[in-house]
């Protein structure tokens, strides 16, 4: 297996799927001539030409709608948002057009479209550029929501998302593009809707997704040295959610920490807690503890940003808390 970056894994997925199916095209700001604001689309313009790799004006609402229209009549658009922060301008097209078209038309018009781009906080980008959007997106029936953590997952899940005949919101970690991992040379896909147990242990379950899965794996490795064994359930797809993977783990460990990148109120973590308390009520030895971003807009200053973000230390404290150990979060 080759060791490649998350960015290159995505780039491979795009290239392979565009080669495989000439209805697939990529559209967004700076995807073509500039080779992508984060270089995810590097080389694609040269390979596929300007009809299939299309630079747009700054018009998120407009070009998301262009994607919806193209998908209605048989193309398979991949709409790149430079970051999901700007996609808010286009949420009407996701919520009111893409997610509802099949239903409103009584099953006539399905929507094979992928909306993708970086989500979540990078470093010191301040309030308007540092948001995680899975909690909002997963609220919507009629779409799927995918948040890969590793290069392997990124490639396999993006390929499945492009082949899916439904609208898929694909959230990449802005901080993950340079991370590396093993990716097979041969073709593979990863089914949407399946979690992966990324670490195994019987003391506590850490349920998480996206960039936070890396934090969780670190935490599990660190705690293993102290003799604390954690399951790390990486949901990968957050809608539909693999509830069975969550409950199987919690029924084994009897304790759970939910680690999420974004804000707390009505966040993805709350939903996971709901599934756990509903399905594992008699198995829980302690309340589920959530680790999330501080409930404030993201500050710019380095120290404040660090304090605002969920991290390994906070997660370790949470694990210790659900295990009623010293050093646990009070």
């Amino acid at each position: 297996m080759a060791i490649i970056t998350y960015r290159d894994a995505l780039n491979q997925a795009l290239r392979e799927e565009m080669e495989r199916d000439d209805r697939v095209f990529l559209m967004g700001e700076e995807v073509a001539v500039y080779q992508g604001a984060y270089k995810v689309s590097k080389g694609l313009l040269q390979e596929f030409g300007e009809m299939r790799v299309v630079d747009t004006p700054i018009a998120e609402l407009g070009f998301a709608g262009v994607g919806v229209g193209a998908a209605m009549v048989g193309l398979r658009p991949i709409i790149e948002f430079m970051t999901w922060n700007f996609a808010v301008l286009a949420f009407d097209q996701i919520l009111n057009s893409a997610s509802k078209m099949l239903y409103m038309s009584g099953g006539q018009y399905n929507m094979p479209i992928v909306f993708r781009g970086p989500s979540g906080a990078a470093l010191q980008l301040a309030a308007q550029h540092s948001q995680a959007f899975e909690s909002w997106l997963m609220h919507i029936p009629g779409i799927k929501v995918v948040t890969p953590a590793t290069p392997y997952d990124a490639k396999g899940l993006l390929k499945s998302s492009i082949r899916d005949d439904n609208p898929v919101c694909f959230l990449e970690g802005e901080m993950l593009y340079n991370t590396k991992g093993e990716v097979p040379e041969e073709e593979y896909v990863i089914p949407l809707g399946k979690a992966e147990l990324k670490r195994e242990g019987d003391h506590c379950s850490i349920i998480t997704n996206g960039k936070m899965a890396l934090v969780a794996m670190n935490v599990a490795d660190t705690l293993a040295k102290e003799g604390i064994r954690c399951d790390v359930v990486d949901l990968r797809t957050v809608r539909p959610m693999d509830v069975e993977a969550i409950t199987t783990s919690v029924r084994k460990t009897n304790r759970a920490v939910v680690l999420e990148e974004g804000w707390k109120m009505a966040g993805i973590g709350a939903q996971i807690v709901d599934f756990i308390q509903r399905d594992c009520f008699d198995h829980l030895d302690a309340p589920v503890v959530r680790v999330h971003q501080a409930d404030v807009p993201m500050p710019y200053a380095k120290n404040l940003e660090r304090a605002a973000k969920p991290d390994a230390a906070k997660t370790i404290a949470a694990v210790k808390k659900v295990m009623y150990l010293d050093g646990g979060e009070k």
Binding site: G62, G65, V68, G69, N110, D165
Partner: protein, 359 residues
């Protein structure tokens, strides 16, 4: 994307470009066609009168926006389309659907919320769709379908086809951001989309002049270097003439057009809105009703001896029977089964499992 070459030449305003005018004029001699146009408009009228009745009886629920008074726009434009062209519109969609040939039964059953409705009762009045007719739906968020139309135009060009996408909208739409973003891209990329503004002078209770900083709204097209024209929407032939030019431009040059078609809505905005009183006077309404597009066409044909009272009455009877049949059909159609609630949320296919869709 293909770069824009010099297009100034090709972009004369609709007023001066006379592309297909001759072809259209020839049509004026075609009685058959005139009868078809009259039939199309009258079907829309009678269907909606019946819908209003059904609404009053509670057989139709939710919002219901009638098109009465504007029929020359739907008929004048859609009558020139090919079956493989696309149509997309707003919540005020009954007229367009009928003009495009959607089954009165299927529409009425949809309005009644029944299993045999075109969308199985899931869409209702505002969301008529028919894949077989390339009828891409009624859409409820003002402005939202305009970029979708641009996307359809993009897909046509992507496949190298010569179809067009016809996009209807109310005049309020020109003040939305979606309109602006969509028209800029359509022009920048040379897409075969015809944007038809049905300027009926009001967006709900707001007169155009109280919402738009310019009043000749087709001139907004200048911001996009787009061909444009202003058209009398009560004269079905004027509509056809202007639309025919736009059609040629779209088919042969893949260039978009913005048409402002001036018309008037004879009913309230929706069933709960009074026909006049709050934001427009009875006198103004009466003035406009004088230019009923159906009356105008009929009068012209009668004058030319192309139809007489008896023939007219016969056509009307036939149409009324069709409409009554749609009512009966809808009334007998069952409610959707409860399992349908959870169907059509997602499909379970992938690109591997579906045959190639045709654009």
């Amino acid at each position: 994307m293909a770069k824009k070459k010099s297009v100034t030449r090709a972009r004369a305003t609709g007023k001066s470009a006379k592309a297909d005018a001759a072809a259209v004029d020839a049509v004026r001699g075609d009685v058959e066609l005139r009868l078809e146009l009259l039939h199309s408009m009258l079907l829309q009228r009678r269907f909606e009168e019946k819908s209003a009745e059904a609404y009053a009886l509670g057989k139709i629920g939710g919002f219901c926006h009638l098109y009465i008074g504007q029929e020359a726009v739907s008929t004048g434009t859609i009558s020139l389309l090919r079956p493989d062209d696309y149509v997309i519109t707003t919540y005020r969609d009954h007229g367009h659907a009928l003009a495009r040939g959607m089954s009165p039964r299927g529409i009425m059953a949809e309005l009644f919320g029944r299993a045999d409705g075109v969308a199985g009762g899931k869409g209702g009045s505002m969301h008529l769709f028919d894949r077989n007719l390339n009828f891409l739906g009624g859409h409820g968020i003002v402005g939202a379908h305009v970029p979708i139309a641009t996307g359809v135009g993009f897909a046509i060009k992507y496949r190298g086809g010569d179809q067009v996408c016809l996009c209807f909208m109310g005049e309020s739409v020109v003040n939305t951001g979606a309109f602006h973003e969509a028209l800029n891209m359509a022009s920048l990329w040379h897409l075969p989309v015809i944007y038809v503004i049905e300027n009926n002078r009001y967006g709900m209770g707001t007169a155009l002049e109280r919402a738009s900083s310019i009043h000749d709204i087709y001139e907004r097209a200048a911001s996009y270097d787009m061909a444009r024209a202003m058209v009398d929407g009560q004269d079905v032939f004027a509509v056809r003439e202007a639309f025919s030019e736009a059609l040629t431009r779209a088919r042969t040059e893949q260039l978009p057009t913005l048409l402002e078609i001036r018309t008037y809505r004879f009913m309230g905005h929706s069933m709960s809105d009074a026909v006049s009183g709050t934001y427009r006077t009875k006198a103004e309404l009466d003035e406009h009703v004088k230019r009923d597009p159906i009356v105008l066409l009929r009068a012209m044909m009668q004058e030319a001896g192309e139809i007489d009272d008896a023939a007219m009455a016969k056509m009307d009877e036939e149409i009324k029977a069709v409409v009554q049949d749609s009512w009966d059909f809808a009334d007998q159609s069952p409610e959707p089964p409860l399992e349908a609630l959870y169907e059509d949320v997602l499909v379970d296919t992938t690109s591997d499992a579906r045959e190639e869709a045709t654009v």
